[in-house]
């Protein structure tokens, strides 16, 4: 039997001016289940709270309704007071008779009647309230960082510096990511390798960081504070412990003409290789597809040459499992290969720009490799077809980006700046050359960005043509670029020696499958979704998983590093406590009634619904039902509204409470 106490607050005169609080209290007093009702000038004041506490003891109250301001204002206050009086805090609710009543209605009778109704509804709610205990979840203070580009390295270093273990997983043989491929960086033109490689080394040498390169995420189980990650360590065919990185193996390898992906296929590498000289770890990997030993069984020259006997042709993939409490996803981006429509993609190709068919049409990242001192040309700008220095270079921006009709409507954000950078690098290296840029708009928000762009235009002699290119074609050894200058209103035709396309920044090709393993959501471009665009830009909706860098959307290096540190800070916040404590407004499954249709799982925004097997005493599977992981559940209740048999129920907002309120309307 409920014994509810109702406390009607005057809020000075804020409520009592329009609501007859005494009448409301008197009305409340005669409601079934109400044991005590009174009114008071300021319920939130110390005397008001004491009044409440005293009443709980004197009248053996089992629940409290404070009719006062909005619960958004003082729910915490009164729940704390109720708790201090020995009640479960969730047995205390507020009837909002100020914001929703006295402040918005002038007529005293109407406002009083409405206030009485609101109190009645809340009494019905509290009568059916349940004692709820806070939910605690233990936290494993180790973190996983997926992706060893600048975002992953930064996040890993920050977390490791805070004293927590980090597992850093990189798919490629070396960490470094796209930043390691860049020549110079805007807006300062400092050498990318010079600022990147020390960080790579720091990450590899950090006592708190376990680096798994040439490794991929196999599966992820668990939830915030308690993930279990299985990592596939792909067979390198080289024993990392034995290898000294001397490089003799590569020198001996007879397969020397394999296009190097790191150099955008401009340079060549051996079958046993490190992708670039500053690779971390500096342990080679055997490309089994091209290695003669793997292809024909004959060769093995590298193994013979290897002093420490590190070559191991028998090596197999290994699965390692790591317990972690938090995950930072930093898997970066890919550039759109624009020559044709990828199978199953909604994005149209750009065949008209000759990419993939005209050798001297390249993308921005390829240009970076041409301009890089450690690149295949040693930093000389030489075009791919004949190795000649191009005298006229056309840069085309927004290739793929901002083209709704081609399937990508977003701006890739970095192209305006890097194209400006490219014109400068080109100008610095080919003094008699001329750079043309076709652009739609120049977007340069960022510290010192517009100044940098203006420098390209005003000091470095780049010719900016506002307009799009309609067609490209090969004529002799030239690439003819036909476009329009929309500012002047004339057709333009340029005989270029080299064309550089600023192609769209895209999500990684397998971004969706990783998202599915992680149970995080992604947008229609496969960029990972943050929990809130403005206020939770670093967190995933799935608790305990954080985002850093371009996997979330196009980003430049400063933004990427900022977000990586922010993600690290979120991880450290999580790790600051031994246990996670959260409000117990979570869904619960009635396992007796659940028939396992998993409609709840289909609508759950948090991936909080798991399968649970119900077995008999002999261990035979009787049925599979839904189970809510309270550590992951966000408490929205969408599952309950979806469940046909109402076998899942949201604590704090049960059907019984809601229906009782509706019936008391």
């Amino acid at each position: 039997m409920s014994r509810i106490g109702v406390f009607v607050c005057h809020c000075g005169e804020n409520i009592s001016r329009t609501v007859d609080v005494e009448r409301v209290a008197a009305y409340a007093a005669q409601l079934p289940g109400v044991a005590y009702a009174t009114d008071y000038k300021y319920m939130c004041s110390d005397p008001g709270q004491n009044l409440l506490k005293k009443a709980v003891a004197e009248h053996q109250l089992t629940g409290i309704v404070v009719a006062a301001c909005s619960p958004r204002m003082h729910e915490k206050t009164f729940r704390k007071a109720a708790q201090a009086a020995g009640l479960n805090p969730f047995m205390c609710d507020m009837a909002n008779i100020r914001e929703h009543c006295s402040w918005v209605h002038e007529n005293r009778d109407e406002a009083t009647a409405k206030a009485s109704d609101i109190v009645r509804l809340m009494v019905e709610r509290v009568k059916r309230g349940k004692v709820l205990e806070p939910i605690t979840v233990p936290v494993t203070k180790r973190s996983l960082v997926i992706g060893g580009g600048i975002a992953g390295i930064q996040a890993a270093l920050d977390i490791a510096d805070a004293g927590h273990q980090v597992v850093l997983v990189e798919r490629e043989p070396s960490i470094g990511g796209h930043m390691a491929q860049l020549s110079e960086t805007f807006p300062t033109l400092d050498c990318s390798q010079c600022i990147m490689t020390p960080k790579m080394v720091d990450a590899a040498n950090h006592p708190n960081i376990t680096l798994y390169s040439w490794s991929e995420i196999e599966s992820i189980d668990g939830y915030i504070g308690n993930f279990s990650v299985t990592i596939r360590r792909k067979a390198r065919s080289v024993d990392e412990d034995k290898c000294t990185g001397c490089g003799v193996c590569m020198a001996k390898c007879p397969q020397k003409k394999i296009p190097n992906v790191f150099d955008r296929n401009l340079g060549l590498r051996t079958a046993i290789y490190v992708p670039f000289p500053q690779a971390v770890p500096n342990t080679p990997v055997i490309d089994r597809e091209h290695c003669l030993k793997f292809k024909t069984g004959k060769c093995g020259l590298c193994a013979k040459a290897c002093g420490p006997q590190a070559i191991d042709f028998e090596q197999q993939d290994q699965l390692v499992t790591e317990p972690v409490g938090a995950i930072v996803v930093a898997t970066g981006f890919d550039l759109y290969s624009i020559d044709r429509k990828p199978e199953g993609s909604s994005i149209e190709g750009y065949g008209e720009f000759g990419y993939g068919t005209i050798p001297d049409v390249i993308d921005g990242l390829t240009f970076e490799r041409l301009a890089s001192a450690s690149g295949p040309t040693g930093g000389k700008i030489l075009r791919p077809s004949d190795g000649k220095e191009p005298k006229q270079v056309v840069f085309i921006q927004c290739v793929g980006s901002r083209a709704r009709e081609k399937g990508i409507s977003y701006c890739s954000k970095i192209c305006c700046m890097y194209t400006a950078k490219h014109t400068m690098l080109y100008h610095h290296k080919v003094h008699d050359g001329r750079a043309y840029v076709f652009y739609m708009d120049a977007r340069t928000p960022g510290k010192c960005y517009d100044e940098f762009w203006r420098r390209a235009v005003e000091e470095e002699e780049a010719v900016y043509i506002r307009g799009m290119v309609s067609r490209l074609y090969q004529r002799g050894d030239k690439v003819v670029v036909m476009g329009s200058d929309t500012l002047v209103g004339v057709q333009v035709e340029i005989e270029a020696d080299l064309v550089v396309l600023a192609t769209a920044v895209q999500a990684q090709p397998n971004a969706d499958s990783l998202a599915q393993k992680l149970g995080i959501s992604y947008d229609k471009y496969n960029f990972y979704s943050e929990a809130h665009a403005k206020l939770r830009p670093v967190e995933c909706a799935t608790a305990g998983i954080y985002l850093a860098g371009a996997c979330q959307g196009p980003k430049d290096i400063p933004d990427t590093v900022s977000q990586a540190s922010a993600a690290a800070a979120k991880v450290m916040t999580l790790f600051a406590k031994d246990q996670l404590e959260r409000e117990p407004i979570v869904a619960r499954v009635n396992e007796r009634n659940c028939v396992g249709c998993f409609a709840c799982r289909k609508v759950c925004p948090y991936g909080a619904i798991e399968e649970k097997e119900i077995r008999d005493r002999q261990g035979n599977l009787i049925r599979t039902v839904a189970h809510v992981n309270p550590g992951v559940c966000g408490g929205c209740g969408t599952c309950q509204a979806t469940c046909p048999s109402k076998s899942v129920e949201l604590d704090g907002y049960t059907d019984e409470q809601i229906v009782a309120m509706i019936e008391a309307l």
Partner: protein, 310 residues
């Protein structure tokens, strides 16, 4: 108006389907491919059938296929009927409309495809309400749903038996009835449904024969809270049929078993049909032969229509 009704398939069609079912059943059971075959056997009254579960190859000869094979046997694969079938792989005779229900049940984790052997029937149609038990299948006696069938040749079955002979064009009686209702004013529609629901006795036949009503605890049997009146009064009847239609929206495969089973002749499928149509219009969803991961009411798109929201 007197109409001349033509017979839709001669006896040889049904004999061929029956024989093929028997042959397949014998093979499946004698080879041990399946533990049981769910099919139809002749009923006690002329032209009627009853659902049956056969576990012995020697009984394969009991199975029949006739214009009286109205039941959606998918019912016997649901959890509501979990006690009646043996463990292991089960074969089921399924018309196209029944197969849509199977696809739905697969999508709702109620069945595993690998535990199912579907004997699809290329179906001419079955008899509808009002057809006498002894009558033949004609343009006059064919069920309303069969007049608008789009899945006569079921795809995705393990084996398909029978071949549909050429059929005449049918007037879409149910679609016309739906259009008639939609053209009414809300008050007229309310009167229409109130009249029909006033006959409802809450015998729950609509629920019990529905392959999708496999809940362990139906919302209408729940008493804490009692959100729906359990008594067969007009108030509770209205609420029950609204809730039923809503729970089936986006799931109902259109087998119309609810309407057929209703002893009070309430045109229940009009509700299901209406919801299916709206979900098709709104979200381009149609119950099909292929299981889908999410139904129209368990997924969303950011660009979904919200013209009704202020």
């Amino acid at each position: 108006m007197q109409q001349n009704h033509t017979q839709l398939a001669d006896d040889s069609y049904f004999a061929a389907v029956t024989n093929a079912i028997r042959t397949e059943t014998t093979k499946l059971l004698s080879e041990g491919t399946v533990a049981a075959v769910i099919g139809y056997q002749a009923g006690t009254r002329a032209g009627t059938v009853i659902p049956t579960i056969i576990t012995d190859a020697a009984k394969a000869g009991d199975l029949v296929f006739s214009p009286g094979c109205v039941n959606n046997l998918a019912l016997y694969l649901t959890k509501a009927k979990k006690e009646v079938r043996p463990a292991g792989k089960v074969a089921i005779i399924a018309k196209g409309c029944d197969m849509r229900a199977l696809a739905g049940l697969l999508g709702e984790s109620q069945l595993k495809r690998e535990e199912l052997h579907i004997i699809g029937v290329a179906c001419v149609g079955v008899k509808g309400a009002g057809a006498g038990s002894g009558e033949a299948l004609t343009t006059g006696t064919i069920a309303r749903k069969c007049r608008e069938c789009t899945v006569r040749a079921p795809e995705g079955a393990d084996v398909v038996v029978g071949a549909v002979p050429p059929l005449p064009e049918f007037s879409p009686v149910e679609a016309e009835e739906l259009a008639r209702l939609e053209a009414m004013t809300p008050a007229e529609r309310w009167a229409f449904w109130k009249g029909h629901f006033s006959r409802c006795i809450r015998c729950m036949a609509c629920r019990q024969v529905c392959p999708f009503c496999y809940c362990e605890q139906c919302l209408c049997d729940r008493n804490r809270p009692q959100a729906l009146e359990t008594t067969p009064r007009p108030a509770g009847n209205m609420a029950w049929h609204i809730v039923r239609a809503m729970h089936l929206a986006g799931r109902c495969a259109g087998c119309t078993e609810c309407e057929r089973a209703c002893p009070m002749d309430i045109p229940l499928n009009l509700l299901n049909r209406k919801m299916a149509r709206e979900l098709k219009t709104l979200y381009d969803f149609e119950a099909g032969l292929v299981p889908v991961e999410k139904g129209p009411l368990t997924e969303y798109r950011e660009e979904d229509d919200q013209s009704f929201i202020k």
